[in-house]
């Protein structure tokens, strides 16, 4: 059932120009960043070779590409996720799901899975660029794996927030603006709250605040560190917002 809904979601995504535009624009920007970094790397190479332990291509080229991808996801995931529920409501197609023998949890998971698979394709496309250097230089596959996992978790976090905000309204653009605002706010407030709480000596609360800061959870894996705490925080964030979304859908059935 979840896969049926996810499959429909993917089909609809690729039937709309939005998905293709996002993919295209993303490739253009990432391509530029990639080539620019590569150019810098080649020019610096003579100097780098004099260092005892020089940073490789993965660190100097791949990491910035993934960083840029994270930034683009911050803008594009709200746009992709806005359709999930809000557009169905607007087109009055939500009834098909609501009157089908499907639970709200299944609807939410199906929708989430649909957009997440699409975002995984985005992550894969991003990873292909540095991988194209594999024949020319020694790549740090550990760091690359960390970047891929980190970006995937980041995309999942953004998608979960976007899906929840999409449940709140019947207006897709309002959903997009709302989830973008929520993500930016979480980024800023999550960090500030963490620091503030830590300054007061509330270590537990400070560590929990990290759940609400997806970018902060991305940082360790961007350095090639597999930080289980950051991964757990991301997973918790996703689950939290998906649960909220399911509850919101159920509440609307009651409220009408």
């Amino acid at each position: 059932m979840i896969f049926t809904i996810a499959g429909k979601e993917l089909k609809s995504l690729f039937a709309s120009p939005l998905a293709w535009v996002v993919l295209t624009v993303m490739q253009l920007i990432l391509g530029y960043v990639f080539l620019r970094r590569l150019d810098d790397f080649l020019q610096l190479q003579s100097q780098l070779s004099r260092l005892a332990n020089p940073p490789g291509a993965t660190e100097l080229v791949a990491a910035p590409v993934f960083g840029t991808a994270a930034g683009i996801l911050l803008f594009s995931v709200p746009l992709l996720a806005m359709r999930l529920i809000a557009e169905e409501r607007r087109n009055q197609t939500m009834v098909l799901l609501m009157s089908a023998p499907v639970s709200m949890t299944q609807i939410v998971l199906g929708k989430f899975l649909g957009i997440f698979v699409f975002l995984l394709a985005v992550v894969a496309l991003t990873a292909l660029m540095p991988l194209s250097l594999a024949g020319a230089t020694q790549l740090d596959y550990g760091l690359l794996a960390g970047l891929v996992i980190g970006l995937a978790m980041l995309a999942a976090s953004f998608a979960a927030v976007g899906l929840f905000v999409s449940c709140l309204t019947a207006h897709p653009v309002a959903a997009a603006v709302g989830s973008f605002a929520a993500l930016v706010l979480m980024m800023l407030a999550g960090e500030a709250a963490g620091e503030g709480l830590r300054a007061r000596g509330w270590a537990l609360a400070a560590s929990l605040a990290q759940v609400l800061s997806p970018i902060k959870n991305f940082e360790p894996s961007a350095k090639g560190v597999l930080d289980t705490y950051a991964l757990a925080c991301s997973a918790l964030l996703v689950l939290f917002f998906l649960a909220l979304a399911a509850r919101q859908l159920d509440a609307q059935r009651l409220r009408g």
Binding site: M1, S12, Q92, L254, G256
Partner: protein, 314 residues
Amino acid sequence: MPEPDSALTISARGLTRNFGSHVAVNNVTLELRRGEVLGLLGPNGAGKTTTMQMLTGNLAPAQGTVSICGVDLMEQPIAAKARIGYLPEVPPLYRELTVDEYLALAARLRRVPRAGVREAIDRARQRCGLSNVGAKLIGTLSKGYQQRVGIAQAIVHGPDVVILDEPTVGLDPNQIREIRTLIRELGGAHSVMLSSHILPEVEMICDRVQIMHHGELVYGDTIAALKQFERGATIDLGLRRPPSLEALAATPGVASVQRTEATLFRVQFAPGDDPTEALVRCAAAGDWGLYRIAPAQKTLEDVFVHLTRHEEGG
């Protein structure tokens, strides 16, 4: 606990729903039996759509219970919903999918096993006259075809209950005829509930009718009884050379006469006391120039006026 009646496909008791302070549906109780076509009649805003939303689990009732084939919709929503096919007022169509893709999605969502999907789609398409548009995008179809896709979607999984909210709105007369035939056919194996604000339509398709007004059921009976009720005891009479009102009123069986136009009269009589023959005889004898005599067709409005007035009078 009473044994649930196996012939009952819908059994709703005391459904009530309010939006804020506005009571949209008040204490509605209705039943639908297997093989029956039930018409839910009422003017716009009478609460038909709200009632159907509650019956299909799209809206939670404030009070009351719904059970579908003996399965409680609140306690086991998934099992109950699997037995329902619902076409809302606006068909829930994904314009970007083809008819086949869409029907396959609808079938899979309603738990039709993967192996049976192909067959289910073919059957639904054939029943709804969609056989040669399977590969077309829904967005490119005309309104009539979209409505048919909406109905196909509701019957693709062979549900016990089909609930159709204004299924013939926006169709041309030919399409309306086809849809009506289809609904009659569906009534054979499934049970069908449909809403409408067109009285003759309900008369034509349904076995039984429930009339809603201001969120309450004001009348429920078989179509035959409704016809009786609606013809009531009124005759429209057209006379080219009318006699005086008194002379008309003196005809045996006539209770009262009203002049509606220069040559048109509305004759009331006591039920069971039909003066049609007497009127024709008198008209011939008195050379009144009779050019029209017909039982007055009451509009739905008249029925409502009558029903609500009746209630107030006690």
